[in-house]
Symmetry: D2
């Protein structure tokens, strides 16, 4: 294992992309500050046909988790009432459900306190402000709202002429720029960027293990690109978000550390971008209004989200 | 208890509003069929200032449930990892959460199979198609997507000049029409209607019991109004949606039966419409783009939702 | 699939072992009626050295369940408080845990209503008396107490000179009789019989899939043997209790149906009998006091148990 | 709030009863070391009539928790399968349950790491060895087995001639000695002592709030008495174990700190001793074999237990 702080490549990038203090010492939402009313008006202006595309995987016992990540369990959906005639025989009967799940188990946002390094979370707060009893005292996922902005699909797989990006390809800034050009769009401040690798096709085809690893994912070099463009958040269609195995041996989750801790930028995983890829190709445009509000679990270090792109 | 079928008033309304077969024998989404691309384009056209208003209550142990509804538990948020250095000392550390909750515990949509009467759910399917093992085989909440449309706030409390609608007031079609006029808008086909009573102020002020009952809510006479306007879905800011205690003695949940079973129309509960009420009053307009996609639990008879209104 | 009622071999045995009405039409505990005070006095008389042997597997995420049995999840252990100084800085601090698990996930008793056939559970009650809302209205696991009796280990593997019983061996009445003779004991009315195949060694060695199937287990012919001896309950060291795949093609779980439904006899699964086998061999005796009270979940169709043999 | 270390009365007792190092620096089970084979033989010799008395409350949604202790939720019992014909129509059908609950929610043992003070748990280990991910690395409840010993009922309420001990009575060493004399028994090394106040009658009568507080409980002075007798464990019939409100203003949970941290002695709460009180009075003896094995949750800081007394 390499501690990020001991890796010069990481440290140099961290210094460049760091946003601590940028929105004040009290800030808890980081790059979501970049989603201004003006950005949202532009997002609404992207709606032309009115087509809507859902981006969440169904939440079910047979979800993407394989047991590899300890404690991150697929949803267990149970019934606590089944056509229960609570008010007497013949009355209106009700069915009620309960669920147990990992907040990061399906299509989700990682909240800013989901990772720490060097004992710190976003904006320099101590990692110990996340506790078993209260969850995250700062930057809990319930603070990240409302989350509607302009979305941009960077369809890396399609731009590369591939159905899915091969093996453990590290998606680079050059890949992002090429996908931008392919899509005829330009990523701007406040955008939510969706990076498609096609990797989720493995899960959809029934191969959970193959989906998990090896996996393409965002390169250590991409946070600087997102930082330069001042994007509000980034999501993709992989389990780990980053390339697995990592680019630098034993340096695990550096992109998590850069996005969540240094930049204060939400990142999304297990987003199903397959239908969106078809629709964008069909309409010949890659920008849209994106509604992607996480479920506001108080103190959550992440949360499920059911995003919808509106074209 | 009165069985709905034995209540002439109920039976007469049921006959008028019934949508079984309207969108085919195979249909599972009911009035969501009314949300066309054209409706969504009009929804986007409502966005003028770009202000966004979240409508979900935070999900937490201290939620709206009081224990009155058996098995419908407030969210229990726990940590399964806390700054865990999974990859060795000094590595990037991760925190992970798990939750157990009733799907109908917080701000949620009731799915169509959430209630049955006379052994039937929407579109005439047997109530026994909801099972402990699979949940709802038909019209599960995962089918209800994507859920973005034009939203209309009918601010009944404000139109009546009240902070919150008094006691167990039954919100009538006349109240809805008055709120429409107050808001200077007209409810149209495919709209999602939000009915504000102000009742949730009781919960926000710390009075869970007072929030639960007695409670204002939609009168048995309102489904016909929604049916006449062909709305796509209705949500409000109460625990039970309907007036508690009921208008007709011992006839519990008649509006649930009419909306969910007869009409095939989603209904939402525990929506926090307080900030929206302020913003609409401030902007002097009561229509907006509403993103309200439920979490897609496979077989769920309901699901949490984190709605956002975009003005 | 073969319906048990359509299988002559099953039907004939069912007729012979059926205990419906034997302890009255109101009875809910079946063969536990055979555990008399006299039996318990004899159990206590078996205690000579005072050695105690625990028989439960640890309850943990990495438990015996493989995902094969839908919804039967291994325990998810989480912390809701970690050295929480609820009463101020420096005060006594508390840690608290929560768990979500299948009641039949680890070392457990199957309660009588855990299976039904022909629409009936034990004592002829309708299977529909088990509901999502209340669980089992009759013979719920909370009724099965107190559960202390004389235990007898029938060490089939050791009697056969094997470390673990090979492949999908059907443990027969002849095997039971041979193990009895090997152990120098005789099974009597009210005893709890523990049948050791050694199969759990596969799980303990890290092979969960191999533990699950193929698996040795009790033959369809053994219930008549247990019935003849009037035993109170039977447990073994396998996942399914019965041989997998089944002896009669497509006739699944016949022994469950005979024990739980026809006889009204609890059966236990995933009991770790390895240490007990060593101790019994060492002491040269196979009878002991057995304390095996299930956790009394109201309406449970089964429950975890942490059994202890006292020699 | 008073930190225990700053309270001279506490510090003086802590010094006297401390068992750190007594069974070696590696010890994880504390006073359970006192349960020798000889003690268990004596326990078995207490069995005369063969009567068995269960001591656990049923595990159900309507349990003893009131919401006062954050995150300690009553059991939520749900069904994941209901007479499911997994193997085809007409096959043997199965019902399966799942549960979510606080491990300390019902009748339970507090494990040694359940509390810490001054940053330490039993045997001087750092409190930080309890983590969200693994629970307790040392002295987890799974280590506390097998737990069978001689039980002694000290029926304080009956000895005082009361149905239930009045108000917030602090059970003193003098009360214990009087109950011993009343019962005609003497507490010895390795015994598990059950102290009955009768307080649980409030819960059994439907008064959950009254059960919680005010409550009689063990006085700060009793740990020294238990230490002098070298008992193995102590349980009682209250929610908090200790007197509520506490004897010394703002010094909360001192008995927890003395028993669990200083002595390394398990303590049990919410044990239903009502039937046992009747049986002991009826038989005129207060000693018995007690089987009280906690469910072995790996890393658990406590666990449910379904104890049985055998007379």
């Amino acid at each position: 294992m390499t501690a990020p702080a001991h890796c010069p490549a990481f440290a140099e990038i961290a210094r460049r992309v760091n946003n601590w203090g940028r929105w004040g010492a009290d800030d808890e939402i980081g790059t979501l500050n970049l989603v201004t009313d003006a950005v949202v008006r532009e997002a609404a202006a992207c709606v032309r046909t009115g087509r809507r595309v859902p981006l969440a995987l169904p939440l079910q016992q047979d979800g993407v988790q394989t047991g590899l990540i300890p404690g991150r369990v697929n949803p267990l959906h149970t019934m606590v009432a089944l056509n229960l005639e609570l008010f007497g025989a013949g009355a209106v009967a009700t069915s009620d459900d309960a669920v147990t799940m990992g907040l990061q188990a399906g299509t989700h946002w990682d909240g800013l306190p989901h990772v720490s390094h060097g004992g710190r979370i976003y904006n320099g707060r101590p990692a110990t402000t996340v506790t078993a009893h209260d969850g995250a005292a700062f930057s809990g996922i319930e603070k990240s709202r409302p989350l509607v902005s302009r979305g941009v699909l960077l369809d890396v797989a399609r731009a590369r002429g591939e159905e899915l990006t091969a093996g453990a390809h590290a998606v680079t800034p050059e890949d992002l720029a090429a996908a931008e050009e392919f899509g005829g769009c330009r990523v701007r401040a406040g955008d939510i960027v969706l990076v498609r690798t096609g990797q989720i096709r493995r899960y959809l085809a029934g191969d959970r293990e193959g989906y998990a690893h090896p996996s393409p994912g965002l390169s250590l070099r991409t946070p600087a690109w997102f930082h330069a463009r001042d994007v509000a958040a980034v999501a993709n269609d992989t389990l780990t978000f980053e390339i697995v195995p990592p680019e630098i041996e034993d340096l695990w989750l550096p992109v998590h550390a850069l996005h969540l801790v240094e930049m204060g930028m939400l990142q999304g995983q297990n987003w199903n971008l397959e239908e969106l890829s078809e629709v964008c190709a069909d309409e010949g445009r890659y920008t849209f209004l994106l509604a992607a509000q996480p479920e506001p679990f108080t103190g959550g270090t992440g949360a499920p989200v059911a995003p919808v792109a509106v074209l």
